[in-house]
């Protein structure tokens, strides 16, 4: 009976539980974590350890456990039903090495992910500029607000077939669609952020006779950064959805397209590996953005 939760030392699970749980998804899935029982005082607690964390296992452990439990449930259900049409987590895991060894998988994955990165960068730069203008200039706001919100609610998938007519069944279509779907959430959040500047900041700037560009880029943009980060999180998720949808609908080569093809040829496990990779990408970028926010905007809460 110890005070700290213990990890059953399985392969690759040498990390002490008391270490800060900064990593996401770094929990070793092979190791079986045993939650420690809370017991009386007396054990040495590393400095800086909060009381709450002594009494119950750390968050990431609980989350990993929940994930493992869900996968186990899935596995059991698939086996109980005896269906061969439903992929099982264990089978997917077994397919991983084989899929990872194929060059095409990485080519496809890179094509999709790169188009998302490119599209988000283009959408973010353009969206930030329009968002700033909408936040700071009443006329621009008045002109664009209803159009931006209309486009924002429009599912981008709906216009993809039209885009193929304009731009062909090409990766350019994918890039344009991705950039557009990343652009809109950035515009909306940046406009909010650069509009909702505490009045006193503007008073200070005006007292010191700030020029318009000082206010735009020195204050409005800085104030909008937390909003911009929230917008980026939305943008990346939307961009990925659009990228996959374009690949489905326009047959543009990429991970989405190969998932579709594999599914059609009953290679479910292989398709799932692609799905998992896309998920890891989104979760990873989200974690990076959260980290960036904590690192660079420490005053902005958690």
């Amino acid at each position: 009976m110890t005070e700290q939760p213990q990890i059953h030392a399985g392969a690759g699970a040498g990390r002490p539980v008391s270490a800060p749980s900064a990593g996401l998804g770094s929990a070793a899935t092979e190791a079986v974590p045993l939650p420690g029982e809370p017991s009386g005082p007396g054990q040495a607690v590393p400095p800086g350890e909060r009381r709450r964390e002594r009494r119950r296992p750390p968050d990431w452990l609980l989350r990993t456990l929940a994930g493992v439990a869900l996968l186990a449930l899935w596995e059991l259900a698939a086996r109980a039903l005896g269906s061969d049409f439903v992929a099982r987590p264990t089978a997917v895991a077994q397919a991983v090495p084989e899929v990872f060894a194929t060059e095409k998988f990485w080519q496809d994955a890179w094509a999709t992910i790169w188009s998302v990165i490119e599209g988000v960068v283009i959408g973010a730069v353009a969206g930030t500029l329009l968002g700033l203008a909408m936040g700071r200039i009443r006329l621009v706001r008045w002109f664009f607000t209803s159009y931006v919100s209309a486009l924002y609610t429009l599912p981008m998938v709906a216009v993809v077939p039209l885009m193929t007519i304009w731009l062909g069944y090409t990766s350019e279509t994918r890039l344009v669609a991705v950039a557009l779907s990343a652009f809109l959430p950035i515009v909306v959040t940046t406009a909010d952020g650069s509009r909702s500047i505490p009045k006193e900041y503007l008073d200070v700037a005006r007292t010191f006779r700030a020029k318009v560009h000082n206010i735009w880029f020195g204050i409005a943009l800085r104030n909008a950064i937390p909003y911009l980060i929230a917008g980026l999180q939305l943008a990346i998720a939307r961009a990925l959805v659009t990228a996959v949808a374009v690949e489905f609908l326009a047959g543009v080569p990429g991970l989405g397209y190969s998932i579709l093809m594999q599914t059609r040829s009953f290679q479910q496990n292989e398709a799932f590996v692609g799905v998992v990779l896309l998920t890891v990408f989104v979760v990873g970028t989200r974690a990076l953005l959260t980290l960036a926010r904590r690192r660079f905007l420490p005053w902005y809460g958690r």
């Binding site: 505490p198 006193e200 900041y201 008073d203 200070v204 700037a205 005006r206 007292t207 010191f208 006779r209 700030a210 020029k211 000082n214 204050i219 800085r222 950064i225 905007l297 420490p298 005053w299 902005y300």
Partner: protein, 281 residues
């Protein structure tokens, strides 16, 4: 309307205690017939006010009397609907160089360190790098924030944040310093410390200062003259010469003169409150 409570500040008020600190007659700020209204609601009207060089003028009045609005008009952040403001003889047309303001909620940028917050005004003026590197640490030290240059506002207490706000206002070496209830968001003990520190700083380099507050004690302690705003719309009800010499210290608070002036201002403002309550009742 000026009631000269005792000696006039321009005469022998003993301010010679700090040589060279005697108020010159140069009028730094002149407001004449100032009026501000929001639609049908007139906030204040008929305001005539002069702040001379090396003089601290406190403005007190009930909530909503337009003290802060008047200060913002002098800063050029708000326009008078009629009347004029001149600073150093020049009619005001937006914020002027040589005028700084300290804000009620500090107005520090959370993304800038103390150093960069204090340097903000100088940087906007396009001051050369050497000047910034020389001036900023000087004022950070003056307000007692040495060692906190790299801290961010959220890491500081309210009192320390306002020290940074004061340093930022002083760093541009203004001729006129506008204080908008600078200590009202700060706890009582810290507030008292900061009041005396501000007096020390001012006594080192006396400039024209306007001090808006809702605390009568603070108005009398800080001010060479106290302007009482009253009525709806508000007007200058009375200007009181405090007549307590500088340097002012904690002992000032226990002098009979401080007590008398404070009592007088209190009576003026209480009449208003009582009248207002009668109207409501």
């Amino acid at each position: 309307m000026t009631r000269s409570a005792g000696r006039t500040p321009t005469a022998s008020t003993g301010r010679g205690a700090s040589p060279g600190a005697a108020p010159s007659d140069a009028a730094r700020v002149v407001v004449s017939q100032g009026r501000v209204n929001y639609g049908d609601l007139t906030v204040f009207e008929g305001i005539d006010l002069t702040v001379k060089d090396r003089e601290i003028v406190s403005i007190v009045g009930p909530s909503g009397c337009g003290k802060t609005t008047l200060l913002r008009c002098i800063d050029g952040l708000t326009r008078l609907n009629s009347g004029t403001v001149t600073v150093d003889g020049k009619p005001l047309n937006g914020p002027m160089p040589g005028v700084s303001m300290v804000f009620q909620h500090f107005g520090l940028f959370p993304w800038k360190s103390v150093y960069n917050n204090v340097a903000y005004g100088l940087k906007l003026q396009g001051a050369p790098k050497e000047q910034i590197e020389e001036t900023v640490p000087k004022y950070i030290k003056m307000v007692g924030l040495a060692g906190f240059e790299k801290s961010y506002p959220h890491q500081l207490s309210g009192g320390m944040q306002q020290r940074a706000g004061l340093a930022r206002a002083l760093a541009v070496e203004p001729q006129v310093l506008l204080m908008d209830e600078p200590f009202s968001a700060i706890d009582a003990q810290t507030r008292e410390i900061l009041q005396f520190e501000l007096l020390r700083i001012w006594e080192q380099r006396p400039i024209a200062m306007l001090f808006v507050t809702h605390s009568i004690d603070e108005a009398v302690l800080m001010g060479d003259r106290v302007v009482v705003l009253k009525g709806r719309p508000s007007r200058i009800h009375e200007v009181i010469d405090v007549g307590i010499p500088h340097p002012r210290t904690r002992d000032t608070l226990s002098t009979p003169r401080f007590h008398d002036v404070k009592g007088h201002v209190w009576d003026l403002l209480m009449q208003e409150v009582i009248a207002a309550e009668r109207q409501v009742g």
